[in-house]
Amino acid sequence: MQHILDELARRRAQAKLGGGERRIAAQHAKGKLTARERIDLLLDEGSFEEFDMFVEHRAHEFGMADQKVPGDGVVTGWGTINGRTVYVFSKDFTVFGGSLSGAHAAKIVKVQRMAAKVGAPVIGLFDAGGARIQEGVDSLAGYADIFMENVLSSGVIPQISVIMGPCAGGDVYSPAMTDFIFMVKDTSYMYVTGPDVVKTVTNETVTHEDLGGARVHAQKSGVADGAFENDLEALVQVRRLVDFLPSSNREEAPSRESFDDPSREEPSLDTLVPANPNKPYDMKELILKIVDEADFFEISSEYAKNIITGFARIDGETVGVVANQPQVLAGVLDIDASRKAARFVRFCDAFSIPILTLVDVPGFMPGTKQEYGGLIKHGAKLLFAYAEATVPKVTLITRKAYGGAYDVMSSKHLRGDINYAWPTAEIAVMGAKGAVEIIFRADAKNPEALAQREAEYKAQFANPFVAASRGYIDDVIMPHGTRRRIARAFKSLRTKELSNPWKKHDNIPL
């Protein structure tokens, strides 16, 4: 009997070696950890249970029949993050460069299906060279099978992708359809076609890093939701993110007992908004001062910085925060900001995460670049996302809420549940100067009269009370008591029930 048990141990040991010690050393030399090491860091200690360790590919052409490695380039299974079940797959670059075969794809599909059935997140760790060319269409079919599961699971379970090495061609579309993509700086890149093809087709010379490095996607393209220094940091942060999220759309986000008094007052918020309306301030200070323990997980922190998105907890419960950032471009809504926030709002709604919106927005960004880029439709995405969202929505206007952007930012008119304003709020069609120049065009040549009109307009409209008098604002609140008021608002909304009319699905302006 013992020799049978020994045989299992031997086979396991062999499988765990993946592509062998030489390739593991090469992986380490690049500053990367191996597929299994990464899983160890991601999951609770000793919680990983592996599936399909002995799966091998079935190709025989091009001499593949002689090259078989148990596991076939991807490690799959499940484990826990702070006690909660998650499913993982981790591409093993040491085996066939992590390339995707039919058998490899089937392993991934298996955990995807299990996760959907069980109602647990799927986390994919990418470090692979694309399709296994030797397998031909089987490889393409495998990709499509994975894509299909990504789509079916979208909005059902959280799907998170971490790019920790190359990720190109067919490999990029699975992450693209997941909820969040994180990248590791310097060691990862992501693109549809690599520098060689780019050179051939467009004669453009570009490096891997400049074409699809972590900085490119986290700052310029917005494809990635965050970039981290190394494997460890990335995995630690994924653990932190998972703690904020529900396991599926059938469950609530876990609540975490807070050490932070929900009624805590912050007197310094009374001076956050500067007296000069053209002076910026840091909206993140407000976020950090009102959420539990100043703990805020920011999504896409380096992209479209004029809007802030991320997860926090208030009185122990997860909320999604969307906030204009007056420090960057005055907090204006442009194409990138609208897309970033719209996607975040839809994620929150899909997973029943209440949304806190902090508003200081001067309007939509003017200019040909924006209009040619389709600002109308991109801006409409955010409008659409807020309007269709049925989760609890609490909104606070700190300063400017001008024009259409006021409507968009979770206004009462888009079924905002509780809409607050600080006394410094200015809810109006536009700023005083612009408004006066249009209304009193006759005075255009008379700066004194115009200044007088502007002062009058300011006194009458640059405040929250006009909106409050119509019930568009539920209450004007003291800045120092913001945390208490918002915590109470969300608490009162825990039993909110609201649904949209039956439809196959909506037609958001993509």
Partner: protein, 660 residues
């Protein structure tokens, strides 16, 4: 006593004066500029009067506005604080003409002491020892050389009208005088519009020690002993103490008596300070007299128990000095640290902005030391570019100098500021230096001890233990709060920089014991006063109280204790092994280009070709969406190319400046 006074100042000194006035039942009026409309001083004063835009030249320095404010509010007297109008004899005269009492010395005394050459003449007449030098007009270089050689090298050449270091040169030999004298003259002319330069002995290993005097309008003057202010950075006092660790009773008495003699010679009738330079043989020389309340006056108050502001009010009102010289003692030791809004890690560059977090140590009795914090700010206030970037004056008092220093080190630990750079780590470093503790200080202290600037301090062994214990505590608390957590593991590896130590943790309800497995010893953390989200971790390590600053990093924690700061990771042995495999990354290559982050109008381009720019310095201001955005250098560099000028419209990503 007056029933109402006006305070022609702002910030901490205004608050400090209001406190004494309140205690005496005197009503206060504060004047304020636009920048100070919501200040603590305005909140505390009984009345406030707006006097104009933020620049001092349009508000706090406009005598007419201030006198009008006093008249309008019925204030009988004006306290000028320090700086601004405090040493302007003309202002004192204007007050008198308006029938308002100036709370300070009479204008003749201000005049007499205001000019360096004049004041030296008075000093000589009063038999006050002065630095050997030549008083009078120097006629060109040969005359200067003759004087220098009579005095003996090294000598110092200094602008008569000047203050600070401007127009000041040291000559070690004849050649230095030949070259330096004309340069000093032209600098004096450019800076002060007055090219008179005087020459005096340059004192080596000098200490700055000053005598506080107090006079009344009845001819009485006493001295309240000395303050030592040798810890200076570019002639700016940073740390002061009273008494001086250097003076003996005889020197103290001699200096005090000379200070009184000089004060009497100019009919001095308020609080004032006679500054001396003291050499290594305790020979002292008169420098100048400051005819006002001094920034560092609290240390004198702490060792004498005398409220100097109260005494100024009383003498201004015409009361006779109620304290006799024999009643003035020295009780214990006091130290003052000036907390500045500046970044010590980046060459002490000013770092103004919003006090996102401001939490000073608790004032009052802490057992072996007492804390006093003179501040004019609250959390959420702005340290404005228009005024002195001082945030507060932190003072500690103890029975002995050692206790006062330990107290200061602890008080600095308890001081938490966020939102701008501050010099607390630097001040902590000084408190921890053996040389400072020994009292062997000179005005060259900072330049000698920090020749390369301030880079923080290396962790001591004790601090390495402390960091490990704090990080372990935080890690354990965070990992056990999740609903699904298993029993906490006890073996961990603590990684600080390149060092990693195996630890074993054991906790009770109120303690955490950390055993360093390879060293066979342990430390115990108790009395923990911290919860997640708080920046200050207060506890005792093996019974010794400490406070450390903790901030969450993407991986691990960043902990600062005094001048030592480091990232600390608490990892499982397996994670630690994997962590060790990850290569240390080179600092990210920050681009040589500074581009406009947005389309907008260039309001100003603040650098020139060839200029050396430091990280964090303003490069340009761009207006977009009607808002001004300050574009700062993200690293040090020399400007090689400028791509835009004020008034230009720029597109997003357009190059503003390229570094070479």
């Amino acid at each position: 006593m007056f029933s109402k006074i006006l305070i022609a100042n702002r910030g901490e000194i205004a608050v400090r004066i209001i406190k004494t006035a309140r205690r005496l039942g005197v009503k206060t009026v504060i004047v304020y500029s636009e920048a100070d409309a919501d200040s603590l001083a305005v909140e505390m004063a009984d009345e406030s009067v707006f006097i104009g835009p933020p620049p001092a030249s349009e508000s706090y320095l406009v005598a007419e506005k201030i006198i009008a404010a006093a008249k309008a509010t019925g204030a009988e007297a004006i306290h000028p604080g320090f700086g601004f109008l405090s040493e302007k004899a003309s202002f004192a005269r204007q007050c008198a003409e308006a029938g308002i009492v100036f709370i300070g010395p009479n204008p003749h005394a201000i005049d007499a002491m205001g000019d360096k050459i004049e004041s030296k003449k008075f000093a000589n007449a009063a038999k006050v020892s002065t630095v050997p030098g030549y008083i009078g007009v120097i006629e060109g270089v040969p005359h200067a050389i003759q004087i220098a050689e009579e005095i003996g090298y090294p000598v110092m050449m200094k602008a008569s009208a000047g203050g600070g270091g401007k127009g000041m040169r040291i000559a070690w030999n004849r050649k230095d005088v030949e070259e330096g004298f004309p340069a000093a003259q032209s600098e004096a002319r450019n800076s002060f519009g007055d090219d008179r330069v005087f020459i005096e002995k340059f004192v080596t290993e000098p200490r700055h020690i000053e005598i506080q005097v107090l006079g009344d309008k009845h001819g009485n003057v006493i001295y309240l002993n000395e303050r030592e202010c040798s810890i200076q950075r570019r002639n700016q006092k940073v740390i002061e103490e009273a008494p001086s660790p250097f003076l003996d009773a005889a020197t103290r008495k001699a200096m005090g008596e000379q200070a009184v003699a000089l004060s009497k010679a100019v009919q001095y009738d308020s609080a004032g300070t006679v500054e001396f330079i003291v050499d290594k043989d305790r020979k002292f020389y008169f420098l100048e007299m400051n005819t006002r309340l001094q920034v560092e006056h609290p240390v004198t108050e702490l060792i004498t128990g005398i409220d100097l502001v109260e005494q100024m009010l009383r003498s201004a009102y015409g009361e006779k000095l109620a304290i006799a010289q024999k009643d003035v003692g020295i009780r214990g030791w006091a130290i003052e640290s000036r907390i500045y809004a500046e970044d010590p890690y980046r060459k002490f560059l000013p770092s103004i902005g919003r006090l996102v977090r401001y939490s000073p140590p608790q004032e009052g009795d802490h057992g072996s030391y007492t804390v006093r914090n003179d501040a004019g700010v609250r959390e959420g206030d702005e340290i404005s570019m228009f005024y002195d970037p001082m945030i507060s004056k932190l003072c500690t008092w103890g029975e002995t100098r050692a206790e006062a220093i330990t107290g200061m080190a602890r008080a600095l630990e308890d001081f938490h500021i966020e939102g701008l750079g501050h010099n607390i780590p630097f001040l902590s470093a000084v408190m921890d230096q053996a040389r400072f503790q020994s009292g062997k200080i000179t005005t060259g202290y900072i330049a000698e001890e920090f020749p390369e600037g301030f880079k923080g301090a290396e962790l001591t062994e004790g601090q390495a233990d402390l960091f490990a214990a704090v990080a372990a505590y935080v890690q354990r608390l965070q990992s056990t709060r999740h609903a699904g957590h298993a029993a906490p593991r006890s073996e961990w590896v603590v990684v600080i920089g390149k060092s990693s130590r195996r630890v074993r943790l054991a906790s009770t309800d109120s303690t955490l014991t950390v055993t360093f497995e390879d060293e066979g010893r342990s430390v115990t953390l108790s009395h923990v006063d911290w919860r997640p989200g708080l920046p200050l971790f207060r506890a005792r390590l093996d019974g010794t109280a400490f406070s450390a600053h903790v901030a969450q990093a993407l991986e691990g924690l960043v902990i600062r204790h005094r001048a030592a700061k480091s990232r600390v990771l608490v990892l499982t042995p397996n994670s630690a092994e994997l962590h060790a495999r990850l290569p240390e990354k080179q600092a990210a290559d920050t681009s040589r280009l500074i581009v406009s982050p947005m389309p907008g109008l260039v309001v100003s381009l603040d650098v020139q070709l060839g200029q050396e720019v430091k990280e964090g310095e303003t490069v340009a201001v761009i207006e977009a969406m009607k808002m001004q955005n300050i574009i700062r250098a993200e690293r040090d560099g020399v400007v090689k190319m400028i791509g835009a000028k004020a008034g230009d419209s720029v597109a997003a990503d357009e190059v503003l400046v390229e570094f070479g």
